[in-house]
């Protein structure tokens, strides 16, 4: 039995189509990522699956229960971490956690091993009010609260926004462990390195799913010529490459630029061309795409 099934779900707000005929399934113990630009419809989907919002059309099940008729069962069996924190600002860390445990009829001790890896990072401050925590500390507490009743299905809407780079690694290690306990996880994230860690991802845009596949498969299906270029004059080079005929797209990637050309070239040809154009110290390499390259390739510019 699948942990989540979504069939032809459609949702409109006024005349804005937030979700358009969305279908997919998530298996037990599967880590499934929803990747898409801001406003793509991810949070709407989370709200529908956690029974907080009704779809206009289509149907779905969570942990075997239909989302419309059996919402009470679903609410007991899922953990949900919404994009905006749902903590009680005037309760301490400790109090927030035991509050969430109590409403689900369990105790913090019973499920401590589920949250331990993340909780130890904020435990030294457990008497502090949630309102006085840093942004990332709040995220960590919210995750612990979503997990404390050992849900069968976990919905995480951008759980690592504001979480530092070290903790993000630990956080994803923890998600992998939850998977092995059979918990299904639907997660959205703006971090493409995290998308790579999912079993499968759905790329979603303007309320429609463009692609569903494993990250590895998406990477090997990418066919465009892609280069990573390094230069000491990154910004000047970016502006130069933008207006060249051979450029399909060029974008900064940390200290490098990633260039997609509209015809195949050898990296050495690109290097030579740039040397002639006055970028004496550049190096170019043909590279495999990352999920970030794929995302940028299919997402349309905002303006």
């Amino acid at each position: 039995m699948d942990a989540i099934t979504v069939e032809h779900i459609t949702k409109k707000y006024g005349d804005v189509l937030a979700l358009n005929d969305v279908s997919f399934t998530v298996g037990k113990g599967e880590l499934f990522g929803l990747i898409g630009p801001d406003g793509a419809g991810k949070s709407t989907l989370f709200r529908i699956l956690t029974t907080l919002l009704l779809a206009d059309k289509g149907k779905g099940t969570v942990a075997g229960h239909p989302i419309v008729n059996e919402y009470k069962e679903i609410r007991k069996k899922v953990g949900y971490m919404p994009g905006r924190f749902s903590l009680y600002q005037d309760l301490s860390i400790e109090e927030n956690l035991s509050f969430f445990a109590t409403i689900f009829g369990t105790t913090v001790e019973d499920n401590y091993d589920l949250i331990k890896d993340i909780y130890v990072q904020i435990e030294p401050f457990k008497k502090r009010l949630a309102g006085k925590l840093s942004g990332g500390m709040k995220q960590k507490l919210a995750l612990c609260c979503a997990l404390i009743h050992k849900p069968e299905v976990l919905f995480l809407d951008e759980p690592t926004t504001g979480v530092d780079a070290v903790s993000r690694v630990e956080f994803w290690d923890m998600l992998k462990k939850l998977k092995t306990k059979g918990i299904a996880i639907l997660v959205s994230t703006p971090y493409m390195d995290e998308a790579t860690l999912c079993d499968r991802i759905a790329l979603i845009q303007n309320g429609e799913i463009l692609k569903i596949d494993s990250p590895q498969q998406m990477i090997s299906n990418f066919e465009k010529p892609l280069f990573s270029i390094n230069s000491t004059e990154t910004y000047r080079l970016l502006n130069y490459l933008r207006v060249q005929n051979f450029t399909e797209s060029v974008l900064p990637f940390g200290e490098n630029l990633h260039l997609i050309t509209n015809e195949p070239y050898e990296a050495s040809q690109i290097e030579y061309h740039l040397k002639i154009a006055g970028f004496s110290d550049n190096t170019a390499k043909t590279i495999q795409p990352t999920v970030e390259d794929i995302f940028l390739d299919i997402s349309q510019p905002v303006n």
């Binding site: 990072q121 690694v169 703006p190």
Partner: protein
């Protein structure tokens, strides 16, 4: 009094009871620089920024922002800096134009100036079409650029951006950094925090805070050499825990 520095901080400290959130940090930021202020969750970045912009009094130490003392001249500082908080401070239930007018008013701009600024911001951000829409209906990326523009409505010399790209998708983040570059090119100083390590590479210099202290400060290039790392992500992982 013409110093080349926009920000000068000496042993700045903030305590909450016996907890030291910011522990004697010392650094300088040059005018026109893009300075990345990095650190793990709870390291003390937001607490430090609040002292730098005159919102919170230091327990000890000295800070000068645009030549004004953080302890004794917080009002002057507020007029000379822009600030965009970790959760953008736009009013969701006001329209785009109303938000601009509201903040223009807070900064004491004349009516004429507010009008000019409104047109300028709407045109630059291509928001003219949605000028009468409520902010709550805008995509996150637009809200964020609007919040940035509004934080500079009074033409400050320095802008403080606390995680301006938190939760923002890869394409919009890149557009936002273009805007940061444009602002810095006009000679403004940009002081920015982020948890995206690729963005750390876009800064002129970065500092890394660990448990209230600045443990490293240099250009991304030099930091990578110093920590024998190939990316800022690696530098951060080595330092932050």
């Amino acid at each position: 009094m013409n110093t080349p520095f926009a920000i000068e901080v000496d042993k700045l400290t903030k305590r909450f009871g016996d907890f030291i959130a910011v522990n004697a940090i010392t650094f300088k930021v040059k005018k026109g620089e893009i300075f990345g202020f990095l650190g793990a969750n709870g390291a003390g970045k937001t607490t430090a920024i609040k002292m730098l912009i005159g919102l919170s009094k230091p327990t000890e130490g000295m800070g000068k922002i645009a030549g004004f003392n953080v302890d004794t001249e917080p009002e002057k500082i507020k007029k000379n800096i822009g600030y965009m908080s970790q959760k953008f401070s736009l009013y969701d239930d006001l329209t785009v134009v109303e938000n601009i007018q509201f903040y223009g008013g807070i900064y004491g701009l004349s009516r004429k100036k507010i009008k000019e600024k409104t047109t300028e911001i709407l045109e630059e951000l291509e928001l003219t079409e949605v000028s009468k829409s409520l902010v709550i209906s805008l995509p996150l990326g637009w809200k964020q650029r609007l919040a940035f523009a509004i934080s500079m409505v009074h033409d400050p010399e320095i802008v403080f951006l606390d995680e301006p790209t938190g939760g923002v998708d890869p394409r919009v983040r890149r557009q936002f950094w273009e805007t940061i570059y444009q602002v810095a090119e006009k000679g403004r100083t940009v002081f920015v925090t982020t948890h995206y390590m690729d963005e750390a590479e876009y800064c002129d210099r970065v500092s890394i805070m660990v448990a209230g202290k600045i443990e490293a400060l240099d250009t991304p290039h030099n930091l990578k050499q110093q920590f024998e790392a190939t990316s800022m992500d690696e530098v951060f992982l080595k330092l932050a825990r």
